[in-house]
Symmetry: C2
Subunit: 798 residues, 2 copies
């Protein structure tokens, strides 16, 4: 990639990342000038802030041990130190993004509440959005800084080739995936355990309102929103964002020169094609960041409108400007319009998924669930379940069409770049996602500090929009994670294909290794769902016991005569989350490692494909069912079907409680699961062999074209006459035409569609043997052929 | 298969089927000698019997129109009349089995109740079991009669070859699949709409006990047990039973002679190998029938023990005797021990799944759910959900291991024969399944006719065992359906592979058509779950309205002063079921047809694989969660955690209601969905092309080895010099080495691992082009190469 050395373009990427970070700081400084309220209010805000940061420090502490161990293992493994360094950088970048975002978000919540009371709706809207926007900027800038700098040092100025560089950068996404496991899965357990625990004792048992200051669990609940939906969501999107960019780089690196030039609209050397295609993801995400900044301006300018309108305008601005500018960008660099069409499709796919998710979590199905509350809890649950199942239909169609069409446009690269397109305006997407918890917290603080109905009305409005954006954000995050993981899976296959040509044909869905892998992939998704739900249940149970204990031992709390002890509840949620995130984390890491090294890369490919579709479908189902139940409750609370206190209301409250761990813990953990499995597989790929370990005999030779060394021996063993030329269509044709002896129990061999040629005592074989492995067996020559994974004996070696 | 003409062995199969039918008739006559009770009781029994038969006649009426239309379309299509005739035979056989089984089961229920009152537990147990056993015998005998006779006429005495015969027999399974759609999906909607409707108004709103004669929905509820769990379950297992046998025949027919002889332990000609391997499924199921009859004897002899013991002994006897006899059978016919090991594994897999299902629906997880009822409905739902998700882990591992190991033993044939082994003792399996509803109905009749607590105690015991067997039966049915469908999917792939060599390698999970198909397969499963749940909800709602109307308009009903009108409720459940089974039926048929003809067989293979894992996982989750909720309620009702009337009880009642449509409608409909999709794909396979329809240009030539007609033109077009020999490793190598021109936008071609050879102005190509389709593109020669699906230019044509 030496043509880059004189071209300073790539430096623009981390530079832009730095600029975004500075803008984030300016935004932060700006809203810090607003008042955090009087002593009592400021104390509440501070309590939430400190508790959130304390939990994050605990996560960081455990995570750093975990990260150091893995990083060292990676470093001393054949993957090497560049990958290990990228791994550390990725972990630090993701952790830092979450830290910055949550730090500022927990400063913005209380200021939003005070602004709502003192300055009205417009200022409150502006503060809550820009409080979340720093998280968006942090995610985008950490991605650009991290990947951008690694790109420059490992690819542009590297002595090794581009493929080795791209391979090392994978470590970055792997580092991000470890942080996501902690932030998203741990945060998810924390938030829902706190929510369910606080609600079940407070609202259901004691009949006090949500966010009532007497409830000892209420601070933990508010903290949960931040650790789950700000830091957790951020690390989730960060992982998809970086994973898809890096996967595209790997795909480009493994691409042939001809395929690369075919993606250009100009006549340029292959070196240029590969360089620009590898840089394109970074250029697109840089562009996306600029578009997000434009969208921030739109939000600022329309903050006086209805909050849902403000957000819609901002989002539309980001998408439309990105579509236009990316067209110009690709044309400037002489990239084929087909590539842009893929990017366009990816962006459009995001918009469609947004609309569909909005329909299911905010439209007629929600009202149907609300109405069904009149016939009791059971019908609410059944209907929500049915809505959730149905809600996956359109997003999955979108994903299928995206795969199919973007592939038709630009091959595997097209699929990858579509995923990057979808995620490019992440700063805006994430800002909207983080806006929700800020608004929610503001409402909580307003309630806890009794700011009165006028303030509460403003924060309720903000919160209700936040609820909708949260539901939509989840649908988007799942689709993004699905596409990013898919891109990584394709990159994984390409990497193995480089070492074992024919691997791609070998992972047919008819291959029993792949079939078994597909089933195990589904299993992984369901098992993950189960353990994360149980984690919430167990932690919530501990929380319930604690809250009950406080009410029992200090009866004065309910009469406002004694102070509750919220720290205790925060500690329980934090302990439970830290303790119980281990199992999902182990599952996510152990499955690809175990299957990859024990059953081989073929089974692993099946595992990834099975987990991919199962995780995407289950996560969409869980997120949308949960969102629909949540909003059905809100719908009743708005006064429909009897309103608050009616039978329909208590039925939908149960629905909401059931949906909570689905949408905020298990569903999101599916995103992490599939991304972790995919990225770890990509990183491990160079160490894997296609077959199960017990079929891996002999040394592994490097891939390429080989001539069998002992052709004479083989020919003698197989009684092949010198000079005979024959075609093998399948096992018995082999036997019939060439008199090759097969062993008695060689039951499963059919060397279909392989062409063998024997001339002057040499055997020539012109199809990759890896096609055969696991599926076919040629017994009398097994030892030599299968041991090397792949052998190609071309006619021109005659 | 002319070596069969002098060997009358195959005739034993239908003969045994006939004998089983006669035994079933004797059993029927035998229990008909028992008293149906006094006028009032007999009337109740008769009401249930007539209502069930009326519903079945309605199903049969609509089904026959549907069947005739499809049969005619099949007949005039290239599939031909033999397939159409097999289709009709299959539909009639399945319909008849359900008819016989349900007719006798609804005669046995009332007699069981009376026997429980007058003759005690042993006689009641015996009657309820043998009342169900006729359904078991009907299923097994209809299978043996139908497939046996078709085998004799279409294969043994046929003028055409074995493959054509096996292809026609597929029609039988297709016919069975249509009946299963009506019986199982229609029956499933009926039974749960009636159950939920009757319970919600009766138990919840009016506070009257289950099966109270005042409840107008109670007859419909009892009818539902029969149409759902007797006829429905029977048609479900019948489909898997026949589907797996026929798939094995197809796999054998498409097998090469060498592969077939490799599965023998003796030295015999390939003709013998193919014949005996093709006959083996029928021999095994015949043997399984004999083992089931032995098991019936064991049940008869141990009827005085605890009912759960009786059933366990019977089941164990059937499995163990089958394992031993099948070993002897395979050795007599000189079949490799590896084949028997696959059969053994299949049978063992069934046993393991039974144990695991019992654990999750009857073990500690159930008590955990029950206990969690103390913290309310939400925790019951969440915990049941988590248990359901977790419960799929072991069954899926069993399936994955079965696939992997039985393939290692005996290739694709091994996977198929393992599925046949699992299903061989179907007469016993089905007898146990049908025992449940008979016992349940007996309890209902005892309650409705107020036979007193002593009788009720006996029927309760029978019913509780029936509940366990029902839950286990569902787990078994899903695994069986999954394996049967898997076998059919593999048969489908083998069939296409015969026409398009290389198809198997083409359906890599890296192929975007396959990936898109995988996602669409998951979609199909979820969408099916959604529409079946909605169907139950809507029908139950109509039922609730009707029951409320009756209570409102005839207030005397509750005071025993007026008669309820149960027929009205039966009619509503029947109308709802008939109207709403259309959508799942259409989905099951339209998806494979649509994807197969529009996107091609590659996408269809992906669809089937995606639907297979999604249906299996979802169905297991639904069945086990539902079973666990059901039994958690029973656990509370036994007096634990506060017993009946406690908060935990009402929480688990909601859990049970939520679980009902999951376990009895949506879950089972997944079995049907995947089996219908798989068998229709197999039948359609000869009409399909690998590529999407817009890439299918020109005529389809028959498969085999072709030499390109216009090699000169191609060579000229591509500037290939005569005599040059080159190897194409991928698209750019093609370009670099041979100067083949590629079109500008030929972005996606990489003809990896294909060997081209050019000699004396002819181009030789030694890999199947179908590997390329969808994945690779060779633009300048697209027209001629892709148009024919497959071209192989072997070196020996030089």
């Amino acid at each position: 990639m030496n043509e880059f050395v004189d071209f300073y373009g790539p430096w623009l990427v981390p530079l832009l990342g730095l600029v975004a970070l500075i803008i984030g700081y300016v935004i932060y400084k700006n809203f810090m000038r607003f008042s955090p309220g009087e002593a009592q209010i400021a104390k509440l805000g501070d309590q939430i802030h400190r508790a959130a940061m304390t939990f994050m420090f605990r996560e960081l502490k455990v995570m750093s041990i975990f990260t150091v161990i893995i990083g060292l293992l990676v470093g001393i493994s054949p993957l090497g130190w560049p990958t290990a360094i990228a791994f550390f950088v990725g972990a630090i970048a993701s952790a830092a993004a979450g830290f910055i975002g949550m730090y500022t978000a927990t400063k913005a919540n209380v200021r939003t509440a005070v602004a709502a009371r003192d300055q009205g709706a417009t200022q409150a809207m502006s503060l809550s959005f820009f409080g979340g926007s720093t998280m968006g900027l942090a995610v985008a800038s950490m991605g650009l800084l991290g990947i951008g700098l690694l790109f420059i040092f490992l690819i542009v100025y590297a002595t090794a080739d581009a493929e080795a560089g791209a391979t090392s950068i994978e470590g970055f996404a792997m580092g991000a995936s470890v942080v996501a496991l902690f932030y998203r899965v741990g945060g998810g357990i924390f938030t829902k355990a706190a929510d369910v625990g606080a609600d079940l004792v407070g609202k259901v048992e004691e009949g006090i309102p949500e966010d009532d200051p007497r409830n000892p669990g209420v601070i933990a609940d508010n903290v949960g929103d931040n650790v789950g939906d700000v830091a957790g969501m951020g690390s989730d999107l960060f992982e998809s964002y970086c994973g898809s960019q890096i996967a595209v780089m790997i795909i480009t690196a493994t691409m042939s020169a001809g395929a690369a030039t075919a993606l250009l609209s100009i006549d340029a050397p292959a070196e240029y094609a590969q360089s620009i295609l590898m840089l394109l993801p970074l250029l697109l995400t840089s562009l996306g960041l600029i578009c997000s900044l434009i969208a921030f301006g739109v939000v600022k300018g329309t903050a006086h409108l209805d909050p849902s309108k403000t957000i819609q305008y901002g989002q539309a601005a980001a998408s439309i400007v990105f579509m236009i500018l990316s067209l110009i960008l690709t044309q400037i660099f002489g990239i084929s319009i087909m590539v842009w069409l893929s990017i366009f499709l990816g962006t459009l796919g995001g918009v469609v998924i947004t609309i569909v998710t909005n329909y299911y979590t905010n439209g007629p199905p929600v009202r149907m669930i609300g109405r069904s509350g009149k016939t009791g809890v059971a019908t609410v649950i059944i209907n929500g379940f049915a809505v959730g199942l149905q809600s996956i239909v359109f997003p999955v169609v979108v994903i299928a069409v995206l795969i199919f069409v973007s592939y038709a446009f630009a091959g595997v690269y097209g699929i990858g770049i579509a995923a990057v397109g979808l995620l490019s305006t992440i700063a805006m997407t994430m800002a909207i996602d983080a806006y929700g918890p800020v608004a929610d917290n503001a409402g909580g603080i307003a309630e806890m500090s009794e700011m009165g109905p006028e303030t509460r009305k403003i924060t309720d409005k903000l919160d209700s929009v936040g609820n909708t954006t949260a539901a939509i954000g989840k649908g988007f995050a799942i689709s993004a994670a699905g596409l990013a993981a898919l891109t990584m899976v394709l990159a994984f296959i390409e990497v193995i294909e480089r070492s074992y040509p024919g691997f791609t044909e070998g992972i047919s869905v008819a291959n029993p290794m792949v079939l078994a892998g597909l089933f195990l992939g589904a299993l992984t998704a369901y098992f993950n769902g189960s353990i994360t739900m149980r984690a919430v249940g167990s932690t919530a149970f501990e929380m319930i016991e604690e809250i009950r204990r406080q009410f029992r031992e200090k009866p004065g709390i309910l009469k406002y005569e004694e102070e509750p002890d919220p720290e205790k509840c925060v500690a329980i949620a934090a302990d439970g989350a830290m303790k119980r995130l281990i199992w999902p984390a182990l599952l996510a890491i152990a499955m690809p490692l175990g299957i990859g090294f024990v059953l081989g890369a073929q089974a692993l490919a099946g595992l990834l494909a099975g987990a991919l579709i199962s995780c995407a479908a289950l996560a969409l189902f869980m997120a949308n069912a949960g969102g629909a139940w949540d909003n059905a409750k809100k719908y009743i609370e708005e006064g429909h079907e009897g309103g608050k206190g009616s039978e329909a209301h208590s039925a939908t409250v149960v629905g909401d409680t059931v949906g909570d761990p689905l949408k905020d813990t298990s569903g999101p953990s599916m995103n992490i699961l599939i991304n972790v499995m995919a990225i770890w597989s990509v990183v491990m790929a160079p160490l894997l062999q296609p077959q199960p370990f017990w079929e891996q005999q002999g040394d592994t030779e490097s891939a390429g074209i080989h001539t069998v060394i002992d052709a004479d021996m083989l020919a003698a063993e197989n009684s092949i006459e010198a000079g005979s030329i024959f075609t093998v269509m399948n096992g018995d044709a082999l036997q019939a035409n060439s008199d090759v002896k097969t062993e008695d129990n060689a039951d499963a061999y059919t060397a279909e569609s392989s062409a063998w040629k024997h001339e002057s005592n040499e055997i020539k074989y012109s199809a990759p043997i890896s096609v055969l492995s696991g599926q076919y067996r040629l017994p009398s020559i097994t030892g030599d052929l299968l041991s090397n994974g792949t052998f190609i004996f071309p006619p021109d070696n005659a």
